[in-house]
Symmetry: C2
């Protein structure tokens, strides 16, 4: 019997970088995505590996019966031994303005995925959580063992709610739950994020780049290729019966928004003037600086190939090439 | 202008012990409750203090417009300077069987209360969270600074989700948020809980008491009178602008289910035989033992009047008297 992976939100940025790796394992891949940010054409590289094993469904994962129906269909393909849950609203400010956005797309997706897994007796989940669950703890080192967890965006809140619901499901019926707390991830296809914003602004006006906040916000960035390697490593090594919570991120202090702005300008429009806003936050819910512990991840033997600055540089090249197509 | 308190879930066990204290402050009290466990007659002692300042609405707090309408109405009474959020599903096993129960009654209540607060420009919330957000950490001392938070019931998950959503709202519009992590609370009017279960079993059959689990589960219990004092203390001392997270509980190691069973039997039916089940858990989602740090609460100058064993004894007397009425 063939192994089957279900990938929720699989037509988005992370999904389409993960899919080819899963396809190479000879699996059937069932992808559900509402295409809010994702695109069906992003499945191209996975399809080039195994066209007949890639099955795409345009599904709202917060819709109970629609989600359950696809999960049931997937069982017909073979043994569904894992669900990757990568679906979420990725527009944090939108969720701050209207919490319903994150309730529906960031949390109810989790809720309905777990419901469908229980109904279909699927017992293993890999979940894309976020560093946003930590909130703004200033200079405190963010490792998996700290609390209280006080997210400052509804996005972070609904990621934490998702972790909690998965944890409760692990007590009830799941056999394996890997919770990955993602940092900022960069690469292509770019669906959102600071680099894409900056490049798009310069495409509209190549004389000036207006930056939200004063540019001192400092964050770590991981290239999506490193991220996917980390996910697959934990998946191969985590222990059945455990809920594994792992920060995923580079091993460095991060890079400032100012530095990113300068790199984008140098690449796209070297003569543009950079104009900064006020305050240390880009928007309500933005975490201006954090120091992220990846000790646990490293204990699995993982090392990133690129640090934050290198990841940003590579992503700027990739995204500008992608946009030039 | 008169101060107004909104008390969500105010006709339940905690609410009706808190209301008289608030009524004594000369406030208007607006109580919303769906009466799933609460009862309108529980408002009696508050009404005896200030009949014309107690306003009850039978409202499903997960219903957006119904909740918002009552909040708007409350603003007509004066300055709404606080919301007490005590509403939740309190039947943990029911929420394990059907996660929708806790989604709706434990989390969406929070979600809609916050929505109504934002709409009505009400900026202070006191929230009844739970020790269940910690999950089962074995013998680890449960203090507010530990993680990861891996609840093992949907009830605990949706309490943690509520904390997170309140935290995000604090970044957005709240000025004050007190998050109280309740332990097991005992007293009257008893709407649920181990003592009521045991007494009811003995009322049905006074020869035998069947206990879920092997009786070794050990938990701390706080008497509701001590709890209310703790809430009012934190409310008076917490700092504007902060999200304050405080474990509330007695200062002892707790008491075993076996000991509670024996005390109930001694009180109700001294000749009854106690028959224990198997395993260290009473049900899926039950946390068999935890050690609860109340250091933070004590730093506010708080001391409980009763320890766990005394709280249980007093509650057994109170509940048996209440049932005999």
């Amino acid at each position: 019997m063939m192994n089957v992976s279900i990938i929720a939100g699989g037509a988005g940025f992370i999904g389409c970088n993960l899919l080819p790796m899963l396809a190479q394992e000879g699996r059937q891949l069932v992808i559900l995505d509402n295409l809010s940010r994702g695109q069906e054409r992003y499945l191209g590289s996975a399809k080039s590996i195994a066209h007949d094993r890639i099955h795409f469904f345009n599904t709202d994962l917060s819709d109970r019966s629609a989600t359950l129906n696809v999960f049931k269909w997937a069982k017909g393909l073979g043994f569904v031994d894992e669900v990757w849950h990568l679906a979420a609203n990725s527009d944090i400010p939108a969720g701050v303005i209207d919490p319903m956005v994150d309730l529906k797309d960031t949390f109810l997706t989790t809720f309905e995925i777990l419901n469908a897994m229980k109904e279909c007796d699927i017992r293993s989940i890999h979940f894309a959580s976020s560093s946003a669950i930590y909130g703004d703890l200033g200079s405190t080192l963010l490792h998996e063992g700290i609390g209280p967890l006080l997210p400052i965006s509804n996005y972070g809140a609904m990621k934490l709610a998702s972790e909690a619901q998965i944890s409760a499901a692990a007590e009830n019926f799941l056999e394996r739950a890997n919770i990955f707390r993602f940092p900022n991830v960069v690469g292509t296809p770019a669906t959102h994020g600071v680099i894409l914003d900056f490049i798009n602004k310069l495409y509209k006006n190549d004389n000036v780049l207006n930056v939200l906040g004063n540019g001192t916000q400092q964050k770590s960035y991981l290239h999506v290729s490193d991220l996917v390697n980390a996910l697959l490593l934990i998946r191969s090594k985590s222990i059945k019966g455990n809920v594994e919570v792992v920060n995923v991120g580079p091993i460095d202090e991060g890079i400032t928004v100012k530095s990113i702005a300068e790199k984008v300008v140098a690449n796209i429009s070297p003569n543009a003037q950079i104009i900064y806003g006020e305050g240390g936050k880009g928007w309500v819910g933005d975490v201006p600086k954090f120091t992220y512990s990846t000790e646990r991840l490293q204990s699995y033997g993982w090392l990133p190939k690129l640090n934050s600055a290198q990841a940003i540089e590579r992503a700027i090249n990739e995204i500008s090439l992608e946009l030039a197509k």
